[in-house]
């Protein structure tokens, strides 16, 4: 199982190699980062294949057994997240070649990109709470720097807001780790989950869970804590907005909280309905608030940022429903949202690159001039809205099925109706930017940008058409991995006893 540490080590290695390569020959840098992203994608596919047979792979770093050493616990949910991360990183790296050609010192971008990849991969495959914190901080630090990459006033301002919010979350997370360590004397996630069962339903149990959720909901930009995102996404360079919107908030906030809720604290719909209702409430709040506010936005990227928050609400809704179909829907939604929102932000980058502005009142007539971008936008938007053959539809469908099976008919109806919100605000962009006739000097997007966008379009369509395969082999096992609950810790330790 030697491939597991490679997910972290390869991007880390290339991150350190890039500053040296950047001194020698600059184009090599882009090649290296794209190649590494591609290798990661291949490894992730291999990892998915492995996770079909072994539902939990535990890798001991430096051969130190748990709970003494740090372990990597790679189950189907990790395999799924690794796959999604590698796809988005590859597309962003591809897209960045021409987009960043106007920036000075643009090879530094790839160092940060690779560091962020290493951090995100680390978060999803680690089996150790403190290790998760370290990777979270690595990824978060590089994302702060990437938001400020252009060094314009707005970008620095957005980056500062992001640092303030992100660091509050990080420090609360660290404080919670200290509390958990004081109570359980261990940092291994599996060990913690065993130990916490003796403290179930005490004040300590709910307080630590609350603090962790607070930290993660800042990172995921759920509605009361969303303000940083609205500045960070529009200000950042487009490939980074795409990466942040597509995958960062999901990994920093959604993956971590899902793992903590289901596998570590061992909560389930059957035992703690109140808590899961709270999650549903939080999800609905995000969907409605951000969805409605998006209508008044006139900035291409800011509108997409609001849409992102609203979509994250759907993911939380799926987890809150808490039965198999709800969780499966939420997991498919992570995939759908990563591909679609990643694509939409890439189109915004292509618009900025060609037309020089993101104000949708000033843009017009781009539909004819930039047909690839326009059609990419349309496909991505249709997937976000939930058009049948595309993946976004199936994600929403499973959430609605889950809601009906759990007996929440009103949530099923609300989820269906609220999808129409996204139709409304995305039509604003379509009408103003692409459909409206107007003179435009914009040139079509450069080749590599189009390749990145078309790649995501193809994936959205393919994954949507072949959704049954995805559910059977990737998303379904991932949902089962989450719903296994406390089995997680048994599996980690059983693997450990089997291998000896």
């Amino acid at each position: 199982m030697a491939f597991i540490p490679l997910f972290i080590a390869l991007p880390l290695f290339s991150a350190f190699l890039i500053p040296i390569l950047g001194k020698i020959y600059k184009p090599l840098v882009w090649l290296l980062s794209t190649a590494v992203a591609f290798v990661l994608f291949v490894l992730a596919l291999y990892g998915v294949a492995v996770s079909q047979e072994i539902s939990m792979v535990v890798y001991k770093m430096g051969n130190w057994p748990p709970p003494l050493g740090i372990v990597m616990a790679y189950d189907s949910f990790s395999a799924f997240m690794v796959l999604v991360i590698s796809i988005i990183v590859f597309a962003c790296s591809m897209f960045s070649l021409r987009f960043l050609s106007t920036y000075t010192g643009n090879w530094k971008f790839y160092t940060l990109l690779m560091l962020m990849t290493a951090g995100m991969m680390g978060i999803v495959i680690t089996g150790d709470l403190f290790n998760m914190f370290v990777f979270l901080e690595i990824a978060a630090l590089s994302s702060y720097a990437l938001v400020a990459f252009g060094l314009k006033g707005e970008q620095l301002e957005a980056s500062f807001k992001y640092i303030v919010m992100g660091e509050i979350a990080g420090l609360i997370f660290l404080l919670t780790i200290a509390l958990i360590y004081a109570k359980t004397s261990t940092l291994n996630l599996a060990d913690i989950s065993t130990a916490l069962q003796f403290a179930k339903n005490t004040t300590f149990f709910w307080m630590t869970l609350g603090m962790l959720l607070f930290a993660f909901s800042i990172k995921a930009a759920l509605v009361p804590f969303h303000s940083w995102l609205l500045d960070a996404y529009p200000a950042a360079p487009a490939p980074i907005s795409s990466l942040l919107a597509g995958i960062c908030t999901k990994v920093f906030g959604i993956y971590t909280s899902a793992r903590i809720i289901f596998n570590i604290f061992g909560l389930s719909r059957a035992n703690d309905p109140l808590f899961f209702n709270f999650l549903i409430g939080l999800g609905l709040l995000s969907i409605i608030f951000a969805g409605v506010t998006a209508f008044s936005q006139n900035d291409y990227k800011r509108l997409l940022a609001y849409s992102s928050i609203s979509q994250v609400g759907f993911i939380l809704l799926g987890f809150g429903i808490g039965n198999y179909y709800g969780v499966l829907g939420a997991i498919l939604f992570i995939l759908a949202h990563s591909l679609a929102k990643g694509l939409l932000f890439l189109t915004s980058g292509s618009v900025v690159h060609s037309a020089g502005t993101t104000d949708i009142k000033k843009l017009s007539g781009l539909g004819e001039r930039m047909s690839t971008t326009a059609w990419s936008f349309r496909i991505g938007a249709l997937s976000v809205i939930g058009m049948p053959p595309l993946i976004g539809f199936f994600a929403k469908l499973f959430i609605i099925i889950g809601a009906i099976k759990a007996g929440f008919l009103w949530i099923a109806i609300a989820a269906g109706v609220l999808s129409l919100l996204s139709l409304g605000y995305l039509l604003r962009i379509e009408n103003n930017v692409f459909m409206k006739k107007g003179k435009s000097e914009a040139k079509p997007a450069p080749f590599t940008m189009r390749v990145a966008m078309v790649l995501l379009v193809v994936l959205i369509v393919l994954v949507g058409v072949g959704y049954q395969t995805i559910v059977d082999y990737i998303a379904g096992p991932a949902a089962h991995a989450l719903l296994r609950g406390l089995e997680y810790s048994h599996m980690v330790f059983n693997y450990f006893s089997m291998s000896f």
Partner: protein, 112 residues
């Protein structure tokens, strides 16, 4: 117990600085204070009365040590804190370059 209370007080002072101060540098100092409070709390978690520092100088040293893991973790957390603080200060200096002020009330080019 009084030392744990002092951690909380330090934490609250830092939070106060972040919430009420308008100067960017003072906000950064608030962050450093919060970070110290959390690190101090973490280091205190491993404390045992009358125990030694966990350093093996002879192979037959009696094993009455304080818990070394929180210390190792705090060291890592300090390094991360260093990186964050450095990044934050760099961003603040660049902001000063662009806006010629440290006052957050005057730094609002963004619409949100």
């Amino acid at each position: 117990m009084i030392v744990f209370a002092s951690c909380i007080i330090l934490f609250l002072i830092g939070l106060y600085a972040i919430v009420t101060k308008r100067n960017l540098i003072k906000i950064a100092i608030g962050f450093v204070l919060i970070e110290y409070a959390v690190n101090l709390f973490f280091a205190l978690v491993g404390f045992k009365k009358g125990a030694l520092a966990p350093i093996i100088t002879k192979l037959d040293t009696p094993h009455n040590f304080v818990d070394p893991i929180p210390q190792a973790l705090v060291l890592t957390a300090i390094v991360i804190g260093l990186a964050t603080t450095a990044l934050m200060l760099t961003v603040i200096l660049r902001i000063y370059d662009r806006y010629k002020t440290f006052d957050i009330a005057e730094i609002k080019r963004l619409k949100g």
